[in-house]
Every structure is written in C-alpha cells, then in structure tokens.
Symmetry: C2
Subunit: 389 residues, 2 copies
C-alpha cells in the first residue's frame, strides 16, 4: 500500500471570543487529507487531520518541509510489517528527519496535523474506530465506552454581563455537561470573583466549575488569585502563569491545596517532562492538558504517557486541551481522565459526533472506522471538499 | 517616518557537512529587506535580516503572520518618541500580538529575522554601527573594539580521515583563529578520542579545542564522554544531551569539572531561564550560546541578559551560536564573551566583514552604519537583489 496524495488547505475559525491572552478573530486551522491506495467500501481510504485551536495553521511548514519529506519517502519505509497498513511511528521518524532537537513550537503543530491524518487512515484501513485500535494495541483491548467531557467557555465577550455569563453556563448544563470552565485574568480579581460567584449560583456544587487564567499572571498576581480562589474549592485552577515558568507554578501550589491544571502550551515530551520534574505538580490531584494535535501528534503523546508512567502518574490525570475527536479517541482508548469541549465555538472543528448527546457529563463515540469525522457533518463537509478536485 | 515595504526571499545554504544530529544539505535561509522612507546618502534606508543556520527559513510564518501584522500596523505605533527612527521594542510587541505564550520554536526564528532587519535600519538611520548604538543605549557608551571569535568546524565529512581533519583545523589557525571547535558524537567514543588527539597534536594547548556533541547523547553516553574528555582539559564540552534535558546536564556536570557550553537550541527568555534554574550551569566557567537570530531577536536577547544579571551571570559568559554579524555587534556593544564563526561554510551568511582579518583569535568590526552587511560583499549581493525589482 502507499500514500497517493496529501492535500492541505487553510480554514479560518473566526470567533468574537478572547481569552486573557489573545483574541481568536484571526485564528486559522490547517485541514489535511492523506489519500491512500487502499480501498474500503469501494472508495480509497482517506485519513484527515487538523490542528487544534490556539495556534495558527502550520500551512507553510507543512508545504515547505513535512509534506514534501513524506511524499518523497520510499513507500516501504512508511508501512508496518504486514505491508498492508501505515506505521505511524515510522512515518513520524521520516517527517522529523533533519530536524534539530529543541524549539518545540509550530513544527509540533504541523506534525500533529499529519499524525492525526495518519492515525485516521490506519484505523480506517483496520476497519475499526481509533479508540478500539488504540485499546487493542496499547491497553490489552480495554477501552472506556464513554468519556468525561467538560464545557470550556466563559470567555470575555465584549460587554458581557453576569446574567449573560450565567445563561451561557446554563446552556452547557442543558446540553448535558456537568462541569464547566470559565476564563479569569482578563479583568481585575474583584470582578473575576463576582463572575465566579455568579456562575456558582447556578451550579449544585463548586467542583462543577474550573477556572482558566491562560498563563496571564506574574507570581504576585498568581498567588493573589490562588489565595482568593482557594476557599471556593473549585474543580481546578488552570495555568496561572507562563507555561514555562515552572518555578511560579511550584510556588503557587504552596497557596492552593486544590487541583491545578496546566500543560496545553507544552508541545513535546521534553517540555512535559520538565513540568513533571520542576513544577511541583501533584500526581494525586493535578490535571495535565497536553494536546496531541499541537504536540507532534499521538506518536509523541505515547512518549508523554510513557514518561508519566515513569514518574508515577496515571493516564487518568490527563484531560487534553482542544475539544477534538482525536483526543476523545485517545481518552477512550488509553484511559485518560477526560477531554475538553467547546460547545458552539471553534466550529466546525470543536465538538464530537452528531447525534450522540453529552449525558451527565459523559459522551460516547461513534462506532465507525477511524477517528469519527464522518459522523460530524459540518466538519466532514470541509474535509470532503479537499478530496473533490 | 515609516516602513514602506518588506520583502523576503528564501536562499539555500547547501553544504555537504553534517553534525551528530542532522545533515545540512536541505538547509534554507530567509533573507528579509525592510525598506523605510528615511533617506541617507541620497538612498532610502533598508534594514536587512536573515535567520541563523540549523533551523529552516521561516518563510511561511513571515508571510502568513508576522509581515502582514507589521505592514498593517499604524506607523505611529512603530516609531520612537522622536518619531524619526523605528522602535524595536514597540515593533516586537506589534508582531507578537495574538501569539500565545509557550511553544518557542520556528516563530522565534521568524521574529529573529524581522528584528535583525529592524536593528540594522535603526543603526543606519542613526548613522552609526550597531555595536556603537547598543553601547550608547545600554552600556554607557563602552564597547569592545574587537571580539573573541572561534572557528567551529570539524564536521564529519564523508570519508574524512585524521590528516584531513588536522588540515582543516590548521587552516583555521592560519586564518588567525586561536580556538577551534570540532563535532563529536557522530562516531564511537574511541574514534572521537582519536580525532580529538589528532587535533590536539597541531595545537599548542588543549584549551584551544572545544568539542560539540549537538545534543546527541543519552545520560549514560553523556557521562561516558564526560569522564573520557575530562583529562584533556579542553576549552569546553558542548551540548551533551537534549537541549531541554536539564537533569542530564546537571548530572553530567558531576563528572566534568571543566567548562561546558549549551543554549543554542533554547529560543526564549523562559527556556533560557529554565536552563539557569535547573541545569546546574556554573556562572564561573560555563558558556551560554543563545542565538538571537533564532530566538525572537535582540529584543528578547536583552531580556535574556536581564534575566542572567538577576541570576548573577556576567554577559561575558555568553558566546552566541551562529557566526553572524548581528551577534558580533551585540558582543562588541554589550560586552559578551565572544562569537562563533564558521570559516568557509554556511556562505554567504557565515563570517564577518571583508578585509578585516581575524588576528590572535579576535576580529574587529567595520565602522559603517548598521550591522555591517554592506562590508561583506557576497552577502550584500544577495541582500541587494531583494531591493532591485
């Protein structure tokens, strides 16, 4: 078998939202189709991939380096021992050839897009949903038939008032979510506390609410927020400071006994390992949010899970950033603690299969081969267009 | 004043060399011209920039994000208080708008290219060499009139034998260099030791030779090399392991009392700070090789120097990677310990002004406005072509 074509396009995911750090009005996504010569149900198998939100489409890197390397590789170096399916690890080695160590950003997104398309194709060729394939290969066949998902929102819309915020959060509960997350750090502490209290009023318990500072705070502010937030006993307090300021994270922990979450802006095993080594994160409560679609894909994510095991962490502590179906499959197949979700935003990339509602905070996966994009209509329209000319 | 045009092109720097990690045969460089409406000597001032070797041309990122952001900015937000020159710090803030924290790779190269062109223009508009401008702004006017440079070479050419390696190194001494550097880690330890001993035979003292493993070793191998290299008392032992594996670095130090060098693959203040915090690097002997042209430019490099000062490090411990004139100006103007040089390779980007020979291991800078590209004929031909159509 071989790859016969690789196509890529850039799609805007315009949105009026902003978090404490950036606005998303210019955000773009690369969508990639990896066309194989394998036929299933009378059609060639095509794997699809895209990048997660928060980083821009890695289009230039894909076109200049990674796609040409993959296209020029000997097809025999890309397949597994049977010769009948692609081998994601061997493909990873091919696309990362002649790349120096360190500097894990942007290219990690490009490789993440390619890797997603590869795994989609691999599961489609195997004729199984990706979560089953992962469970079979890496977890003795055990998979979770539903995944915990939480609704990330509570952005700072222009002129948003407290009742609008409450209505937004009520909407998530109505959709079946049990845990919601809101942004903090885009307003003074006192205003953020008012926003938090407004949301708590519509929830049954405070562990239904997580808060996310998106790396905005310096040490002083991070500690001020930690002290002010601690009494609320929230689900978690996410990314108080710069994602690489492990000392800040370690010092905030002294003022915050509850769960903290971080990792969405660390894009390699090496960066993830430094978090574990230096940031005083706690394997009994903290949440790790590494997102494979920004971080060299599932091949690297497997290395991260291996590293975590070495350091005594369970995969259940991982709840990836991004709200996409790739991480949903990884969560179900490899036993992660859940997955993020952005109901209604980052469309059509955010969210899961059509017709499978979230229930009591959990969602099931469709029983179709691959990652499940074909069960998400609006998204699949974008993907299908790539294969139609 | 305002920027009237920004042009970019990609130039290959093909080379038969390889280090322990990658080969350079596909390496590319972005060259950028920033055209202003300021006239000096009857011509519009143009600032030039390019990226350092080891990472690829960041052309897609420049075209998709950073150049459009700069072009669309209000010109008044880009100039200093006089309104008569560009302000590199304000420009940096504009081009980094809507970029999330973390993930410091690739985009750090794109911004490094732009930043170099900005500083070249700023010094040309001021009518002084960049090193004098930096000394005036940041060092009370004190500058070094010559900079220590060392010749980096000793790559693994195909079928290179020991006499060829000795001849290469003799060539560097003949050019006026007093310190040379060779690659290790691309061959078994015993062969590398033979190569080292062959080079030491043509040197007067062992502190004229540094060795560079380019991040290749795991912990076991790094310690094996450290133990084997220690008795030679070389100038330094560079980058034994992965650039982000600070624990490896910290453990190797226990087996190596001599100077170590690292940092060329860390591309932000935050990454550099983690090296200082966690890698047990020693401010009395170790060498820091952060390269501004890969790391968000001089604006970020100033932040790195500020951070180093906070941690008790002198700028004299910095000897940047890259062998380009930008770091040479920074070294002379801000009092760094020296600069790398690659005689004969990475042309026309490597090396310094024509007609100023290296003498006893030091080189002077030309007294022309800007970074000095106009005094480097082959390089300036490439740059000038960008402004001629």
């Amino acid at each position: 078998m071989r790859i016969v074509d690789i196509r890529e396009t850039v799609v805007p995911i315009k949105s009026g939202i902003r978090n404490a750090y950036i606005d998303f009005s210019q955000m773009t996504v690369s969508v990639l189709a990896l066309v194989t010569d394998v036929v299933r149900q009378d059609k060639p198998v095509v794997g699809f991939g895209f990048n997660s939100n928060g980083r821009y489409a890695p289009s230039g890197l894909l076109r200049d380096r990674f796609v040409p390397r993959l296209k020029s590789a000997d097809p025999e170096t890309l397949v597994d021992e049977s010769g009948e399916n692609l081998d994601p690890m061997r493909i990873w080695d091919v696309v990362m050839r002649n790349e120096k160590p360190g500097g894990h950003g942007e290219r990690s997104v490009a490789v993440g897009v390619l890797d997603m398309a590869v795994w989609d194709a691999v599961a489609k060729i195997a004729g199984v949903p990706l979560f089953r394939l992962l469970a079979d290969r890496f977890r003795g066949g055990v998979f979770d038939d539903k995944v915990f998902v939480y609704a990330a929102g509570g952005y700072y819309y222009p002129e948003k008032d407290l009742s609008a915020l409450q209505n937004e959060m009520r909407g998530y509960l109505d959709l079946g979510y049990s845990v919601v997350k809101m942004k903090i750090g885009g307003a003074p502490l006192s205003e953020d506390l008012r926003r938090i209290e407004a949301v708590l009023k519509i929830l049954k318990s405070s562990d239904q609410l997580a808060v996310d500072a998106n790396g905005r705070f310096d040490l002083e502010n991070a500690i001020a927020y930690a002290r002010a937030l601690a009494p609320y006993r929230l689900r978690w307090f996410e990314e108080p400071g710069d994602p690489l300021d492990f000392e800040l994270q370690a010092r905030v922990v002294n003022h915050y006994a509850g769960a903290m979450a971080t990792g969405e802006n660390l894009f390699s095993m090496q960066d993830a390992r430094n978090l574990i080594r230096y940031a005083q994160v706690r394997p009994d409560r903290d949440i790790l949010q590494f997102d494979c679609a920004l971080s060299y894909g599932l091949v690297e994510y497997l290395r991260i899970l291996g590293m975590l095991k070495d350091y005594g962490w369970s995969p259940i502590r991982c709840i990836p950033h991004g709200g996409h179906q790739m991480s949903l499959n990884i969560a179900a197949g490899l036993g992660l603690g859940g997955n993020e979700s952005y109901p209604g935003v980052f469309q059509p990339f955010g969210g899961f299969a059509d017709g499978i509602p979230v229930k009591d905070g959990y969602v099931k996966l469709p029983e179709i081969p691959g990652i499940g994009f074909e069960a998400k209509g609006e998204l699949f329209l974008v993907m299908k267009a790539l294969t139609e000319n």
